[in-house]
Homo-oligomer: 292 residues x 2
């Protein structure tokens, strides 16, 4: 495989930095330029050899690049796309690491409409409690999943190249439409966060909330762990993936109403079947033979 000559990271952090390191280890990149707002973070990235050069100006940094990876929060992506659009080489690949895809695709369409043949929206599913360039590691993507959500307009050869680069980083690559991606993550990640936040608020509503929390044990601990997540980040994700989140919240509300009605009616048999279906599925989840 042909190496990338000049990879530009817009946002130099855990996700983009680990992509750069993995490509360096695979000898699939010659030069990495890091762009970011924090001079200290860029300096650290240089020292750790995550990047070979640093810049605070996205528009000039992308000149001559053959791969641009946008690794910022989604809220910053539109302005960056707008800034780099005039300076992109005609065959420069542009990808990103945002955790929602329909909204990012809309930004690509808005700001890089003439360049879509080379655009491959992506979601590397990896993370850490840590962030910033100093948290980047060579092995972050080993065995982790990466979703590619290319446009109908994206050149199949470009998709294949991005796919091969991620595989070279050790990732398991899946291609699917942005809407399918967002529906999956609404169901298995975004909605559980909203439910955990809502549940925690409901406990706090109780007149004896402090006493309740004193008796809360391991079931509570695990069920509410994600209710401790960063409010700003999850506000942005909930709004970015609004439609899919609302669809799956509705699905949950229906099932919660059902279990409420079964308890109300004291329908022991139906309640048993309701619990058993969930328990059976949860018990096999994650086991190698389960097919999940």
């Amino acid at each position: 495989m042909k190496p990338i000559k000049k990879l530009v990271l817009l946002g130099t952090g855990l996700i983009s930095g680990s992509f750069a390191l993995a490509l360096k280890r695979a000898r699939l990149v010659e030069q990495v330029v890091g762009v970011g707002r924090s001079p200290e973070n860029l300096q650290r990235a240089l020292e750790l050899r995550v990047i070979d050069a640093a810049s605070q100006d996205a528009a000039s940094a992308v000149i001559d690049a053959d791969f641009v990876f946008i690794g910022t929060p989604v809220g910053q992506m539109g302005a960056l796309m707008q800034a780099i659009a005039p300076n992109l080489a005609p065959d420069c690949i542009v990808s990103d690491g945002g955790s929602t895809k329909q909204d990012v695709c809309a930004l690509f369409r808005q700001h890089l409409a003439g360049h879509l043949a080379y655009c491959v929206p992506a979601h590397p599913i990896a993370g850490s409690e840590l962030s910033g360039a100093s948290a980047a590691t060579y092995g972050l993507y080993e065995g982790r999943r990466v979703v590619l959500a290319p446009f109908a307009e994206t050149d199949p050869a470009v998709v294949a190249r991005v796919n091969a680069l991620w595989q070279a980083c050790g990732a398991l690559v899946h291609e699917m439409p942005a809407a399918e991606h967002d529906g999956i993550f609404a169901a298995v990640s975004h909605v559980p966060h909203l439910l955990a936040y809502a549940y925690m608020n409901a406990v706090l509503d109780k007149p004896n909330a402090a006493l309740c929390l004193e008796f809360a044990a391991t079931g509570f601990r695990d069920f509410t762990r994600i209710a401790g997540s960063h409010p700003e980040m999850w506000r942005d994700i909930a709004l970015a993936n609004r439609e899919a989140v609302l669809t799956d919240l509705q699905r949950c509300a229906t099932r919660i109403a059902e279990v409420t009605a079964l308890v109300e009616a004291a329908d022991a048999d139906a309640l048993y079947r309701f619990f058993e279906r969930a328990s059976d599925a949860r018990s096999v989840w994650g086991k190698p033979s389960s097919g999940y």
Copy 2:
């Protein structure tokens, strides 16, 4: 403190057996008689010296007992109370280890109406994946909480004695009305289980459920862990604590409807505050300085 002369365990398992072992270690019991339906389990309890004598007949076993501890599932308690009532010494203390209290209190009132001065419904909050007499340990209650839910009719000296015995087992003892106990456990244990089961069923309802589960990660893993719990046990708990469970399910449904409306309205500020309240409370929970 005066030791128990003859302690009878109705149901010889993890909870009752560990109570007996802790009392033996504290030299606060002279003889322990285990009653149970499984001869193998009783034999094992004798070998492990959890009990000193075994019986399969509750009614005759309680003759001359000064403390009877009912450690069976709640569903078996009524028949046992009825069987032992004629043979109880007038000052024999009767307690239990059921995880719901209003329904157990109702059984005490039904079957031991003339004996309530000596009855102390209790809930030792300890458990293990293991069960049976062979899982009993001396230290199960070290630092664990035990709730006592005595009747208005219970002799305060009897409550004080049961309290002191549990403290001698290493437990932190709380006294509260049965309704308050059930409200607390509905909120922090029973309702999370129902929500986790309902959520899991909602995911399974999706046409691409198998694909979704393939992408589910650590947030999903922890949020749904309790959805793998035993369907029969949780059906019984949900129905035993029906009123408190319905009250708190309603509380959660209200908060879920609220977060749904905020996402629908794309009300970023209110969504942030909603998440922040939950996140702040969850982040301090369990820390020594939190007051919880």
